[in-house]
């Protein structure tokens, strides 16, 4: 590795630098003063640096797109910068930007720890970015832990709140358990092949014939361990509690960026090391997808808190997304399957960010996120109500909102891969999901509920909501461009 190849780490380095500046600068600025003025300055400073860092990282990513043509081998192949990795990283950074904007007003109540909060968000993002590029077991694991440990802290950040602490603890326990499962799977893979490089593992597995029971066990363990991050059954129980208990910007981050990073690594491992085992994990994932979406949707029906409801909805959506991974296992639909998954992750993330942005505005006003408390909310703020309604409808998959396209693309890919039964399950699930998403809409537009003071949406949150919604509608028109890009990105992942 030469100094030259450092350029491939530019996005991560920029973001990491921003994180350090935010944390240290915050400490200096805060300097033990307790007055409101210096706290406001700190807040402005941290958010500003974080945003500049994110934008810088995006710029660096854009610059790297031009350099993907030549074979890139920093860290002797352990760290890949291909179109796939850049796509995932760009999504991650965009999600991080929205999270930073969302937390601007929220972090007021976190003082004197506001800058640490943002610093952790940035470090978590860096961890996620490394996950997208990792093609070596140990590196992948360390990257995963970087993301996870930052999130354990973030989820429990609101120390005064019992729910937040409880959520943090649950997240830590389930996270540690699934981490152990993953590590066990990776250890078996290493034991069988003697390699930690994912490509070398794939070659060794393919050469040895993919029939050993130990190999099947390792596959299940690896996929199962990574299920934690994306919320696939049976590692999904943490989701509702964490979504409800964590500070809302953190919830938004967990449900979007952390998930995207989870898919980033899962896809990388499935597409390289475990590609010879695709028959095994295809069936496992198909069954897991069917169970996951059904469990998510049925449990969501009886929820009364919007954040919990969104938690179960995220479980259901994990099921839909995994359908694309199922399609990825067939050589003929591999690129398409991956492309629709990447598109879905982006769409789902933007949807959720808009939804959580609106939920936070609701919480700030009402101090509650109960569906019943939402009654008549449209009279208080037509904008917030419309944003929340649009995201709910998009999550349901009602055209012309972009959620519909993401869903239909996944369905089409799964049918082409020969999994019509899975699509049938998914269509029924989708219809069921309309009931609880629309429950939220119905409550907001009902007559009941007192007309209280109008909602105050700050500039940062407003921008976040704007990004969420504005990106929903025009995405439909450029859906083609995205799927095309994603297919190009997919081509770089699978080894010829």
């Amino acid at each position: 590795m030469t100094v030259d190849s450092l350029v491939y780490f530019l996005p991560e380095l920029v973001l990491l630098g921003a994180a350090l500046v935010v944390i240290i600068g915050g400490l200096v600025l805060e300097g033990g003063h307790e007055d409101r003025h210096s706290s406001d300055i700190t807040r402005l400073f941290s958010a500003g640096v974080a945003l500049v860092g994110c934008l810088g990282a995006l710029g660096a990513l854009y610059y790297l797109v031009g350099r993907t043509g030549t074979p890139v081998d920093p860290l002797a192949g352990a760290f890949v910068v291909d179109r796939y990795a850049i796509y995932v990283k760009a999504i991650l950074v965009v999600f991080a930007i929205v999270t930073v904007l969302m937390s601007y007003r929220y972090s007021e109540r976190l003082k004197p720890h506001q800058s640490e909060f943002l610093g952790l968000v940035l470090i978590a993002t860096v961890g996620g970015m490394f996950m997208a590029s990792a093609r070596e077991m140990i590196e992948a694991y360390v990257a995963l832990e970087t993301l996870s440990i930052s999130l354990y802290v973030l989820v429990a950040f609101n120390k005064a709140d019992r729910l937040s602490s409880e959520a943090g603890f649950k997240y830590l326990v389930v996270g540690a358990a699934s981490s152990a499962v993953l590590l066990y799977g990776l250890a078996i893979l290493y034991g069988l092949t003697g390699r930690t490089d994912l490509v070398a593992v794939a070659q060794a597995v393919a050469a040895g014939g993919a029939n050993s029971p130990a190999l099947a066990l390792a596959t299940i363990l690896v996929v199962g361990g990574l299920s934690f991050k994306i919320g696939l059954v049976p590692f999904h129980q943490w989701i509702p509690d964490v979504y409800q208990g964590a500070p809302t910007p953190v919830t938004a981050f967990v449900s979007t960026a952390s998930k995207a990073a989870g898919y980033g690594l899962l896809i990388r491992i499935l597409g390289t090391a475990l590609l010879p085992m695709s028959h095994q994990w295809q069936i496992y994932l198909a069954v897991a997808a069917a169970v996951t979406m059904t469990v998510g949707n049925i449990t969501a029906l009886s929820q009364t808190s919007v954040k919990r409801l969104l938690g179960y909805s995220s479980i259901a959506h994990a099921g839909y997304i995994v359908m694309g991974l199922v399609a990825m296992a067939n050589p003929s639909t591999a690129n398409l399957g991956l492309a629709v998954v990447l598109f879905y992750i982006l769409v789902y993330g933007l949807n959720n960010l808009a939804a959580f942005g609106a939920v936070q505005a609701v919480e700030d006003t009402l101090g509650s996120d109960e569906i019943s408390a939402l009654a008549g909310f449209s009279k208080r703020s037509g904008t917030v109500a419309m944003v929340l309604a649009l995201s709910m409808l998009s999550l349901t998959g009602i055209p012309p909102l972009v959620g519909f396209f993401a869903k239909v693309f996944v369905f089409l890919a799964a049918v082409q891969a020969g999994y019509s039964w899975l699509v049938l399950v998914a269509v029924i699930n989708s219809a069921v999901s309309a009931v609880y998403y629309l429950k939220v809409v119905r409550s907001m537009y009902s007559d009941e509920g007192a007309v209280g003071r109008p909602v105050r949406v700050g500039p940062a949150l407003g921008t976040a909501l704007g990004i969420g919604v504005v990106s929903l509608l025009p995405l439909v028109i450029v859906a083609n461009a995205f799927v095309d890009r994603a297919q190009k990105a997919a081509e770089t992942l699978f080894l010829k």
Binding site: L336, A339, G382, L393, I398, P399, P400, F404, F405, V408, F409, F411, L412, V415, Q416, V427, A431, A434, L438, R442, Y445, S446, A479, N480, V483, D484, Q487
Partner: protein, 531 residues
């Protein structure tokens, strides 16, 4: 009969207009067309404008209303231009097929295209919807609550409806089809009457069920046809196994008769109509039901003609039961709006009758019926709304003698009711006449039974007129006044078009003939009627 002679003069004048020097014809394929895109997407521009205009004060709301008028008025003018220019080219530069086509790749990975165009079947419906949206905005000018959201939703609805009538790609068709769902749901839910929550949810449930069936059918067709595209014409040519084609036919048919609606899937309609505000009822009956009829003609007849023939008797049963049931139910209603709603069920039965006969004349009548019913029922709902605005009741029993206080409104009512009852001289008569002529040779008993629907429609409409407008004036209504010039203006306009088409039906029937000829592949253009 000055109006009649005027209409005849207009009718005589139009064909003699000089044919434009063939701007389209063969050259049309190369030059990009945007006329249809203007009709479909201009309302979106209007919707965004409305969204960003301030809406607090009365002056602001006035601006919003003006914007809505402009952004529904221009598409109406464009649709009128498209219709007239096509009419002048009939048999000269235009000899059937689709016009104003636009075709761009949309989602390449799945072969979905942005492909729109109109033929003799869809052009009248595009014209109808642009007219009714303009009228609906006119009829909503007095709105005071949540003005901004209301016109925003109306304009979004406009995109979906005109999109459905122009889409030539099934995926695009589905997307447009679904755009209608949420605006209509919210329009009923927010601005509706007392039981609006119930009505809106019932509407939503029926519509979502229909959409799920439609999506399923489209996906099965897409994969089984194996053409790798959603193009309607390509899919219509696909060779499918008979059982599969039959299944698909029924899936599509089921979806469309929920929308149409046909007995026994019509129960959402009376509730939705009664609770919806006047202008929304106009759109619901005038255009949204037509989406069902259009779907049947375009997809069931156009793409599954063998199956339509095979299941002709079943369709006939739906038609006749719908006609009789709707008419009998209308007879016993006390609520004026419910009465008109049930009459819609009956009138849409005639469309099904025309489809079941599957002759060119009957299909021509079915398309014309869609157009005529859209205007006539639109007018009836507007009239119900005008009466309700003044009396604050829709109960027929509570009214009586209103003609003494509101002569103009009563006159409009009588004309619209005659048109609805299918009296000669009105558009509805031509349509029903064509349907009967075309279907009698195929289904003698069915047609015979269906004719009773016309008799019944005369009965319930005249009986209602008598109880509402004539007889002795009740005390409570002594202070009523006729509606103002705006209301009378659009009523005269709509009734004028109904009369014009009734007197000079070839204005539309010729155009429709070309569309129908395209459907019944190889079929000849039937002889013109009503000349």
């Amino acid at each position: 009969m000055t109006l009649l002679s005027l209409a005849a003069q207009v009718a005589a004048a139009i064909p003699t207009l000089p044919a434009s020097p063939a701007p389209s014809g063969t050259g049309s394929a190369s030059s990009p067309q945007i006329l249809l895109s203007i009709i479909v997407w201009l309302p979106l521009l209007g919707a965004l404008l409305v969204l960003f205009l301030p809406g607090r004060t009365e002056a602001d709301q006035g601006r919003i209303k003006n914007a809505a008028l402009v952004f529904t008025g221009i598409p109406m003018a464009a649709a009128l231009f498209a219709t007239i220019s096509t009419f002048t080219e009939l048999g000269i530069a235009y000899s059937g097929g689709f016009k104003f086509e636009e075709n761009y790749t949309w989602i390449g990975a799945f072969g979905a295209h942005y492909h729109i165009g109109v033929d003799g079947i869809s052009l009248p419906l595009v014209l109808l919807s642009t007219i009714l949206f303009f009228v609906a905005v006119l009829a909503s000018l007095n709105l005071k609550v949540r003005v901004k959201e209301y016109f925003f939703l109306i304009l979004v609805l406009d995109i979906g409806v005109t999109g459905v009538f122009t889409a030539m790609d099934l995926f695009l068709f589905f997307v447009f089809w679904e755009i209608e769902l949420i605006p209509m749901f919210l329009l009923i839910l927010i601005w509706g009457g007392k039981r609006r929550v119930y009505a809106a949810w019932k509407f939503l449930l029926f519509t979502i069920a229909a959409s799920a069936i439609l999506l399923l059918a489209i996906l099965i067709l897409y994969f089984k046809a194996g053409t790798g595209s959603f193009d309607m014409q390509a899919l219509g040519q696909a060779k499918l196994a008979p059982e599969l084609a039959a299944t698909l036919f029924w899936l599509f048919f089921l979806c469309f008769i929920i929308k149409l609606p046909a007995f026994p899937l019509h129960t959402w309609l009376p509730d939705a109509h009664v609770e919806a505000p006047t202008a929304v009822s106009v759109l619901l009956a005038g255009i949204l039901l037509k989406m069902g009829g259009y779907g049947i003609i375009r997809i069931c007849v156009g793409m599954f003609q063998a199956q339509t023939k095979q299941f002709s008797i079943a369709i006939l049963v739906f038609a006749v039961v719908g006609i009789i049931w709707g008419s009998v139910a209308a007879l016993v209603q006390d609520d004026m709006k419910r009465l008109v709603a049930y009459s819609s069920v009956a009138h849409m039965g005639f469309v099904l009758l025309g489809v079941s006969a599957l002759t060119a004349v009957a299909l021509n009548g079915a398309v014309l019926q869609l157009f005529a019913h859209g205007l006539i029922t639109g007018a009836l709902f507007l009239l119900v709304g005008l009466v309700y605005d003044r009396t604050h009741t829709r109960s027929i029993r509570e009214m009586g003698g209103l003609a003494q206080r509101m002569p103009y409104l009563a006159a409009a009512w009588v004309i619209a009711a005659f048109a609805s009852a299918g009296l000669p001289g009105f558009a509805g008569f031509i349509a029903e006449f064509e349907i009967f002529i075309g279907s009698f040779g195929v289904h003698k008993i069915g047609t015979f039974l269906a004719v009773f629907g016309v008799v019944l429609s005369a009965a319930y409409l005249l009986w209602m007129l008598e109880r509402v407008f004539f007889g002795s004036l009740k005390e409570a209504w002594a202070k009523l006044k006729d509606p103002g010039p705006v209301e009378l203006g659009y009523m005269v306009g709509m009734l004028g078009v109904i009369l014009l088409v009734g007197v000079a039906p070839k204005l539309l029937t010729q155009l429709i003939n070309y569309g129908v000829a395209g459907l019944t592949a190889g079929g000849s253009v039937p002889a013109n009627l009503g000349q």
